[in-house]
Symmetry: C2
Subunit: 240 residues, 2 copies
């Protein structure tokens, strides 16, 4: 469980948050955002490598990423690990735990991060009085399901290079939405973590990177990726 690091000094409410349109407050009016602000008053910092939550522990709150980058993964009894998602600013963690009120996955910060805690019981209560909030929350959960179906398609029927291309395109779009370059970014995760997410071994991920680089579609310098030719990258997926 995240510690109670004090962050009240900074001006960190939803109303003034530059990512509010990517996050829970989307579509709310001023008054409603203020109510929500009351709910998510508690923020906390998570250092790189620390857990935001762990599988098996009690669920109380959702967490909205305010700054930073997370991965979530589930573990099999035999130790196999499956990365189930990467989360960046404005995205909501913990939705899987509503079902049983116990977290089903571990969430780790891949860089120094900050999250806004959203006590779930109070969110449900508040959403009774703010239909827009309830509806938007439903959309967020639904979007998570759609996202997962996309990953199932990727894992179920794409080849290594297609998977990586799809992954890069997805990252690119998410960076862009947040005001960063869509063609030039730094990966926060290792090849192994990418591999786990994409159902590939790290060597295969590395080879796929190299091949895309050899074809002058991207350039790879360790974690630093530059997409030279987005069109040809897009053509990599769905033309097998």
């Amino acid at each position: 469980m995240p510690k109670n690091n004090d962050m009240s000094s900074v001006n960190t409410n939803c109303a003034s948050c530059s990512f509010r349109e990517l996050c829970l407050p989307l579509g709310l009016n001023e008054r409603e955002v203020e109510m929500l602000d009351d709910l998510v008053s508690h923020k906390c910092k998570i250092q790189r490598g620390e857990f935001l939550h762990r599988a098996g522990l009690n669920f109380q709150s959702l967490y909205a990423v305010r700054r930073g980058f997370f991965k979530t993964y589930i573990l099999e009894k035999d130790g196999r690990q499956q990365v189930t998602g990467f989360f960046m600013t404005g995205e909501l963690l913990g939705l899987d735990a509503i079902s049983t009120e116990i977290h089903t996955c571990d969430a780790v910060a891949l860089e120094d991060s900050e999250v806004c805690e959203v006590p779930f019981a109070r969110l449900e209560e508040m959403s009774r009085n703010i239909p827009t909030l309830m509806h938007h929350f439903h959309k967020i959960m639904s979007r998570e399901i759609v996202k997962d179906h996309g990953v199932m398609m990727l894992l179920g029927s794409m080849k290594a290079e297609e998977r990586l291309a799809t992954f890069l395109i997805n990252l690119s779009r998410r960076f862009f939405k947040r005001g960063y370059s869509s063609s030039d970014f730094v990966l926060r995760m290792t090849r192994e973590e990418i591999g786990s997410y994409l159902g590939l071994k790290l060597e295969t991920v590395s080879r796929a990177f190299s091949r895309l680089q050899d074809e002058d579609i991207i350039s790879v310098d360790n974690k630093h990726i530059n997409i030279h030719d987005m069109d040809r990258l897009r053509n990599k997926v769905g033309n097998s």
Copy 2:
């Protein structure tokens, strides 16, 4: 969109439905079930092979399976198809469409079926006044996410035989919950559909069935499956 076949003759309300504990009404009191009944008054029949909904069409309602069996799948531009789920009695279809209010997948009946239509806008409205209903609906959505993460694990890190074993164990448990035999059942889907769901070719599915049969763990007679040794079937998964 399903047709308006009249089914009012049969006694088909939630209050008397034998699957209510598997479905939306779980946890509601008598009065609340009555309110829900008012909401889901419209039932309809779907013949085997007919669509319950299609990708790209407008979303209005969720559908609870009352009787029968469905598959959902998404299509890539290049024609590749990924089965994203199989749905049986009491399970809810259409959750993916809440996000954009457009269906993202096709849903087809694999046998003659009946569904209860749940107009989503009215469900949201009603859940404002029935916190138990809202909370349970959130649990259902969350459970869908957890389920999808399980499939990601399966697709991302299991071998063919493990995938099939996992699939059979899952089906077995779901049949059991519905009062059917957990060791003896008839598959509603083809090898190709199983393969699509499990990220395998139909030949591989067939071979995996044959191998499990050769080991006397199950017996396979076309679509009819009998699980002889559940323990050894369970051991097939997670011991690679």
